[in-house]
Structure formats: C-alpha cells, structure tokens
Amino acid sequence: MERVYKVYAINNGTVIDHIPTPLALKVVEILGLGNEGVFTIGVGFQSKRLPKGKDILKIENRVLLESETDKIALIAPEATINIISNGKVSEKRIISVPERIFGVMHCPNPNCATNKLGAHSNFALEDKETMTYRCEYCERVTGIVPENLTAPE
C-alpha cells in the first residue's frame, strides 16, 4: 500500500522543506528544538532541486521567529519555510543570511575569548557571497561549517 503522507500534515506551526539530506537533525539542534513540543522529521526524500535528497521538518504549534529561520539559512540556504495556520499556508517566508549570529556557532580559534574566557559567541557577517563570518572577539574570519554550529546557549 502506498503511503499518502510521508510526513504527517500539521494544522498549525512551521514546515521547513528542501533541507539538504542529512541536515534536518542539525536544524533541530541549532534551533534548540530537542526538548520542546512535537516535531516530525522526514529524511532522504527525492527532490528535483536537491539531487542528494531532501529532508523535511515540521514543527507543530510553533511559528518560528525570523531570527530563528535566518539561522537555517546558515546551513541550508535552499530551504523553504511555510508557516501553517488552520491547515493552510499563511506565510511563505524567504530566508536570508543573518547579519549577526549569537550563540549558535563555535569559534574555531582555540585561543579565542569565547573558548578561553567564557565570552558568548558572536559573529558578524563578513562576506555574503562566500558566507563567511568574523568573530567579534578574536576577529578571525570563518566559513559556515555544520560541525561548528550548536544549539543556542
């Protein structure tokens, strides 16, 4: 029997589609969703746009803030975001690369105040094209590597 709903539809909340496989779990992590509410993840669907497959993440009863959806742009700029109200798409959100990122990225410099003196991670966008960020503390420029992204503090 063919399954009609590979990932169950939600009535209210946020649907994130076109996340490159296997980054859905990373999205869950950087949004800090682990300990709250209900969300469903689908991994490895076929996609015309993403030849290696796509993941879908549906978060029930929660409309993500723009600051949260912007973070998704860091690791999955291709992702599409739909806000669902009463079973219908109430908003299609375009994600953009955030100017600043607080708390979700580790500075790769071991001698940085964020790693040595307890400063809170804070990066400013350095170059949109190359997706590089400059650490507010040690001032080193770094690219976005999913391994350096973590849950909000």
Binding site: N111, C112, A113, K116, L117, G118, C135, C138, R140
Partner: protein, 307 residues
Amino acid sequence: MSSFKGRDIISLRDMTIDDLWTIVMRAQEVKEGKHGDCLKGKTIASLFFEPSTRTRLSFESAIVKCGGNVFGFADPGASSQKKGESFSDSIRTVTGYCDAMVIRHPVEGAGRLASEVATVPVINAGDGANQHPTQTFLDLFTIHEEFGRLKNLKIGIMGDLKYGRTVHSLTHAMAMFDAEMVFISPPSLRMPSAILSDLTEQGISYRTADTPEDAADMGLDVLYVTRIQKERFGDPLEYKNVAHGYRINCNTISALGDQVRIMHPLPRVDEIAEEVDATPNAIYFTQAHNGVPARQALLGLVTGGIS
C-alpha cells in the same frame, strides 16, 4: 567630529580615518607640550595578564606625565586569576577602582570582552595575535611627524607578514590613507590573501617582493622592518639563510635611496645593523619614544581630559 570620551579602544577595525587623524593631531600637541595635566585626578588601571615591559612602561610613563595615577600588575602571577577568579569578574571589580583601564592579555578577544563588562573605557594593549591598536597609532604619529602627511606615501613592509599583527594593522591603516605598498617577505611568510584581496577591493596598489632591493625602483618613503621569528621555520638552517637576506644595513639604504626612513616596532634582534642607527634614515628610536605622547593623547581623549 566623533567624540572619544568614554570610548573603548579595542581594535583598528572600530576606527575611522577621522579617529586616526584626531589621535595623531592630539599626540602632536602633547609632544609640543600641551595637555600636560589631562589626567589630573584620574586613576588608570594597568592590567598586564602577560608581561610586556616596553608597552607597560610606555603606558605608565604616559599616565604619570599627564598627571594621572596608575595602579595594576605587571604579570599574571600577581592577578587574582591565579586564585580562580574569572577574567570577567576581575574586570567587573577593577572597573570600580579606576577611570580607565589598559589591558594586555594573551587571549584573543580579551580586550573586547573586558570592554563589555567594564563601565570605564578600556584600552587594548595587545590581545594575543589579534590587535595592538596603540602600536599603530604611534606608527602613524611617527610617519606624520616625519613627512608632514599620511596620504599617498610609499611604504615597504618587511618581515613576517603572515603572522605579524603589527604589520596587519599598519597595512589596514595605511590603506585608509591611500598608501602605495610593497610587501617584502620570504615566500613562506607572505601577507595573508584575505588582506591582499581587501586592498584590491579598496583600489590600493601593492606588490610583493622577496628582498628590499627588489623595491629599490619605488623610491620608498618608509621601510617598516619587523622581526622574523626562528620558530616559524622547521629547519634552523633555512631560518639562517632567510634571516641573512633580511638584514638592513647601510648598503640597503643606498639601494633604497636617501629619502627612505627605517622604522621598526622594537625590540630588534639583528634585522637592522647597528651601523644604521647613526644615519638620519633611522627613526625607530624616535618611533618607540613616540609611544608615550600617542598614549598620552589617547588616554586624555577617552577620559575626557582632552576634547
């Protein structure tokens, strides 16, 4: 005009060309004998979480010359960090004891972090390999004093260009003043490509060279020499060969022309032969002395003693 009162001085990245002008002009006035009591009644904390005798003495001299009081420590053994107090808590405590603080720390970003928890202005006196803005201020002041201008100069920057924070900051500052630059280094210690592409974006003309003689045709105004550290080379023999080619003597000066002025952030090891010291081309000792008026001006500006 931007106001300096209450401002933190952490990184050259926070400075505009007007800010740099203001510091250079006020430093000149200080050297001419003005602003002698700009720190009167003020107490400045001098917190050296790593030893740096030259920088510390230069700051402390600047404070005393302006009529201020100074307290602090010269090495981390004397700080309460050893007893396990966090850096932020140390700063939160000391901020209540002073009107401004000068901080040297081996960790990159320590100055920035301090400025976030302190309620008084923080001056970064060096944070690891990152920034040392007052070195650049005294360099600019010295160049201005020598040439009467900062715009459109020809400057050669030589030595360890890959890791040297002093040369990175100086390059950043001289680019703001439309300098024509030549970067002289062994191939393994070239200026990082990110800095070079920034220069290209700003329309700054530069070239790279292996030896100072390669830049002889430029008619350099300044040759800024820095040390090449032995630790950067795996093979001691390779270091010896490289270091030999980076020694400035009177022949180098003849090749570069009489107009050239030789600068060095000091201490030098053997990058500049002693025979150069007596020539009018050598301005590195003046440069070191200029650290005092440059720091006097800066301290006066951030505490409001100089407006």
